[in-house]
Symmetry: C2
Subunit: 443 residues, 2 copies
């Protein structure tokens, strides 16, 4: 037992934007209840930010300055909260804080996904904890579920709606038959999407989160550069409608799966059965479905962003660290990625080698025999057809919508190239992967 | 750090039914992956059961006997798994094991809900951990989410589908327009329901689970005897249909809420909007929705029963304890109910004092003026009407279905008594509470 139980645990916050501000506000508003849970007070003693008005904190008892490196050198600070975002100076701030023997809590998904391996190693060498619950799916305690709650399982796969902006856009497109660009503009006006929406709609943000979840699900090093990423800007309302007709909804999913070939990590729009709970997660909500070999499928849903929701996860990390400190332990109880012995040998499967079912929308001329030609090409590539929708929409063009059975992506690429070269095809084929998310999904 | 890292952690299992057997099977099948996570092996060294064939374990290296008290006295056993069920001898086995300095993991919801206060106190006095993740919602890590993942929040309310049998029955009734008794019989044939279904369909099992969740959500002592319990046997397919017409589904929910009056704990059939994710959890599935003042609403769903799913939670508890043991800590890192200082003063609200919206199905004669009389009574009791459905179903009887605005239960009871005494009312009124489950639901 620690003899300093009456002494509050001291927090330093680096970066005072949405999440940093939300963390201070939450520690203050819920302070009494948190102390009851913890048996000890948590106190924000320092803030480092370039954008705050120092005089606002004159009577707060909080020491405010601009330099985060000064904060992390303060021997009074027990836990450093990094909410600077980005890599510079966030990486160096976290690294130095760990070297200084501070526990660090970060909400920075890019930092963990791209530089986490180095930082976790520094944390381990220095016997301190680097926590990152808030980096994935905001307020949903999904890191805890994967690293601890489901620790008895071999994880077969997980699939998540992990970008609220993208889910808002797809939901609006579906509900109101609106075009992507139109909804994106509204999302920007509402503050759901950044002025440069690339990170969200092209799946980079989701790929950061998926990379992190895949590492703790399968016990592999973080490998952001091997995560396949595809955005949603090419999805049309008609795809959403055809999907609905076939019993599906289109969601922008991050999918990680362990197959015979290795680990798949991919972010792309996906058709899933409308009967799945995951298909019914709408608007800015996030949700992650996880399939473990013992538990089966569990789903975790809630707000994936916002000051208070994200702060909820940041403060949960603080409480975990504080509960351990209370016992006099400083080294992490749970390994950073949930494993004492990482699988170094599990290789990441190239997107060309994955297997999936596919939705294809093929813009064809309304002439006799085109469907036969398409069928032949698919058959030559070893791909069998599950369902077809063919409807005349204008006098001379008729989109052919095909749902295929399971095929290897490489084969599908060949088939698409060959079909696009047919004379009667009048544009690019839209290809969307289909996931069954059923009990074992082949893994 | 513990110097015995090469020594496996030894487990003794008391009771070898579904959960006990599932736990052994899981520790064996996933042993390699669990050791990778933990950095240490877990080994079942003893089993105590009256119903197993000892010779089956001859070559297993597991010592098998009938007496659980012998097992818990074995100085080689580190963690005792109690899957005996019931109170006798489970209570005494757990108590003695804790007194002997063993950590205990139990799947026994009745034991925790009804005798947990005593047992947690024994555990605390002896510096050991008593874990019970598997006692609520099977494989869903809801205890961990409440005690740790959402620890930064003041919990406003939670609402859960926490009995798979009941949810299966209601789902079948809704999907196939079948009567309760008919589906119950099928559930019994399928093994979803016990020969005596009272525990499941009358809500006692759900009340045990709700009692546990309410204690860790609000930091109050376990008070099973104060949990209001109402079953689903009086629900008719017509109620499900009227509810659907009004935009609702009927689920058997366990609800805990913090209001100005205190803590509400109640299990009863409930109308919830069909747009809620919770309304779409079907079949034997479980799900719990939790509203925290920072995070907002999060939902956790998955299998609430079954050998492997329940064992997933039992083994997660074992891993948590083992991870702490690895650090040389034996006292619980997280307090049993998630709080170092329990709220002893928060009173449980009597069901008569709760506020709710209500669905009423009133069997009335098809005569002029009956609706006016009903409206008058409701108005006199201060209850306003939100919607009415009135359809002729036979020549002389017409059920009147009313959805009310928020009212106090006591007032609703008076209104129902008065209405039932009207000459034109030809039977008992069916009353089902309605929950909005919206962001703040008044709490």
């Amino acid at each position: 037992m620690n003899s300093d139980l009456d002494k509050p645990i001291k927090i330093g916050i680096c970066g005072f934007g949405t999440v940093g501000g939300g963390t201070l506000a939450l520690l203050q508003s819920n302070g009494d209840e948190i102390s009851r849970r913890l048996g000890r007070n948590i106190q924000v003693s320092r803030i480092a930010s370039r954008s705050i008005k120092i005089s606002d904190f004159d009577e707060s008892g909080i020491q405010v300055a601009t330099d985060p490196f000064e904060l992390i050198s303060d021997s009074e600070v027990d836990i450093v909260i990094e909410t600077l975002g980005g890599f510079d100076p966030a990486f160096e701030v976290v690294r130095q804080a760990l070297l200084n023997g501070k526990h660090v809590v970060t909400a920075n998904k890019a930092l963990i996904a791209e530089r986490g391996n180095e930082l976790f190693s520094v944390a381990q060498d220095n016997g301190v904890t680097l926590s990152y619950e808030s980096s994935v799916a905001g307020g949903i305690p999904i890191i805890k579920a994967l690293r601890e709650g489901l620790a008895a399982n071999k994880i077969n796969w997980l699939a998540g709606i992990i970008n609220g902006t993208g889910n808002f856009i797809l939901t609006e497109m579906a509900d109101k038959q609106r075009q992507f660009d139109d909804v994106l503009q509204q999302a920007q006006e509402l503050g759901y999407a950044e002025a440069d929406p690339t990170f969200d709609v092209e799946g980079i943000d989701a790929a950061h989160k998926l990379t992190i979840m895949a590492s703790i699900a399968f016990g592999i090093p973080l490998q952001f550069d091997k995560t396949y990423t595809e955005g949603i800007s090419h999805i049309k309302p008609e795809d959403i409608n055809y999907a609905a007709e076939l019993g599906y909804r289109i969601k922008h999913l991050g999918i990680a799966r362990l197959s015979d070939k290795g680990v798949e990590m991919r972010v792309h729009p996906t058709l899933i059965s409308r009967k799945q709970l995951l298909a019914n997660v709408d608007g800015v909500g996030n949700a992650v479905m996880v399939h473990g070999n013992a538990v089966g499928s569990t789903l975790y849903s809630g707000p994936g962003a916002g000051a208070a929701a994200t702060a909820s996860a940041v403060v949960a990390d603080i409480i975990d660290i504080a509960r351990a400190m209370e016992q006099g332990i400083t080294t992490p109880i749970v390994p950073a990625l949930g494993y004492r012995t990482i699988h170094q040998d599990l290789k990441v499967v190239d997107i060309e080698d994955i297997e999936s079912e596919y939705y294809l929308r093929i813009p064809a001329k309304d002439v006799v025999g085109v469907m036969a030609k398409i069928s032949n090409i698919l058959q030559e590539c070893g791909i069998s057809i599950e369902a077809v929708i063919q409807k005349e929409v204008s006098s001379d063009s008729v989109p052919i919508v095909i749902l295929t059975h399971r095929a290897v992506e490489k084969q599908m690429n060949s088939a698409i190239s060959a079909i696009e070269q047919l004379q009667d095809i009048v544009g690019t084929i839209t290809r969307i992967r289909v996931e069954t998310l059923t009990e074992n999904s082949e893994a």
